[in-house]
Assembly symmetry: C2
Homo-oligomer: 238 residues x 2
DNA sequence: CCCACTTTGTGCGCGTGTTCACAAGGGCGT
DNA sequence: ACGCCCTTGTGAACACGCGCACAAAGTGGG
């Protein structure tokens, strides 16, 4: 019934590959700027921090853009990857939350790569409205729907506190936004046609802490050291 | 030879599970605060945005902490997950880069969850040194090694521009830091014993753009529309 | 004390992703 | 024009993660 199709891979590029294409693109752009005309899979893989076989398989999903015995033409690959990622057109982005994070995002060098345009930076706090950040003026959250429509915003960025995130998300969705990038530490509920990606600082830190603990355990000897281990007990916890 | 062991899963918890534990933990903490004593896998899974079978399997890696017919004791699970993630001890974190991003991170509510202590916020820019952010004073980057040693920092956060990232990383590693959280858009080179996690805004945006383009293609009709498709050509790129 | 109901814990099949290893293909020197 | 050497593209084996579906286990009511 509500069975979700495993997304029949609309045109054949695996999700894992899509996630790596931007990394390749960045490495290629650096090569391009340094005037390098061609690059081997080995070299590019090393710069992207991946295995060269994986790189070749990833690129093979886009087509046969390499030349055996030579490598890949840098400029050509940049173009092909950009096109595949949809960066040959401009995407309008609206950021909600003009705190430090929202400002950091807005200042993030033309949003890291060309292809993205910040249509608006909005906040609920009247004191912030009107501030100038990265060449644009902070708008009030109530203008969200208007901006989304007028500027044809398709990607919404949520840089608000956790409590506000779901409400902002709902407004984005209601206004027609179909992709959301969420920096707030909450799980967002959205209709299935909307894509959500989450960036969560504290989760990343906790994952690092886990591995760090592993390493520390190893160093201090594998014997269970005297953990002051009176677990709350399944009955009385909290 | 340089064959990398596939990491024999030191104590049995799959990486994918580790990445979800913090999400469960957050949901559980919310339940705990609202006074809920027990929760079923179904309910918790829904709040965490995952499948309930997956949740049960994840939790089963920590041990048998549920009660059949009842569910999980919220307080007890909070404790067990915290312990597994290493959050029952405090980790010292140093942040390099006191721009908007660094400040956003420093202000991130006691770093999202207890278990982390910001030992220092450093920057290379003399004009920023001495600023007070989130109750601490911005230090100079040259004090990095001293701080790492004195405060026993094991996790380094890089919130600098791309050009500076590798150098900062090298200093972290040289000073004995074994986990790095990198916000700069570069691939860091580190010795194998160091863990690096990357958070990259522009990559996330590009992935969203990819899917957005897919959706748009679908809407405009599946026929290849007249892409002004004169690819630079493998010969003349750049 | 037993039975019906609820919910956990997990065996299993499937799809995805990763890596090795090699055949196919193209350039370049002679 | 030929053959060597380099690098791509991919078949196949393997590892991993996911989700279904069900047996095991504990609860509460009569």
């Amino acid at each position: 019934m509500t069975r979700r199709e495993p997304r029949p891979r609309e045109r054949g590029i695996p999700e894992a590959t899509v996630a790596r294409l931007p990394v390749y693109l960045r490495a290629l752009q650096a090569l391009s700027e340094s005037g390098t005309p061609t690059v081997s899979s080995e070299e590019l893989a090393s710069r992207a921090g991946v295995n060269s076989a994986k790189l070749r398989k990833d690129l093979s999903h886009l087509g046969s853009y390499g030349t055996r015995g030579v490598g890949y033409d840098v400029g050509y690959l940049v173009y092909q990857i950009s096109r595949e990622l949809g960066l040959t057109q401009d995407w309008s982005v609206a950021i909600v939350g003009a705190g430090n994070l929202g400002r950091a995002l807005a200042n993030y060098g033309g949003f890291g790569t060309r292809g993205f345009r910040i249509a608006a930076l909005l906040d609920a706090e009247p004191a912030l409205v009107g501030d100038r950040v990265a060449g644009l003026s902070v708008g009030h959250i109530d203008t969200l729907e208007g901006v989304v429509e007028a500027e044809n915003v398709s990607i919404g960025v949520i840089a608000t506190p956790a409590q506000a995130a779901q409400a902002v998300c709902d407004r984005f969705v209601g206004a027609g936004v179909t992709s959301v990038l969420n920096f707030a530490p909450v799980v967002l509920n959205v209709p299935p046609e909307v894509d959500v990606r989450k960036v969560d600082l504290s989760i990343e830190l906790q994952i690092l802490a886990f591995h760090e603990q592993r390493k520390a355990d190893g160093r201090e000897g594998p014997e269970r050291i005297g953990t002051l281990d009176a677990p709350p007990g399944p009955a009385g916890g909290q």
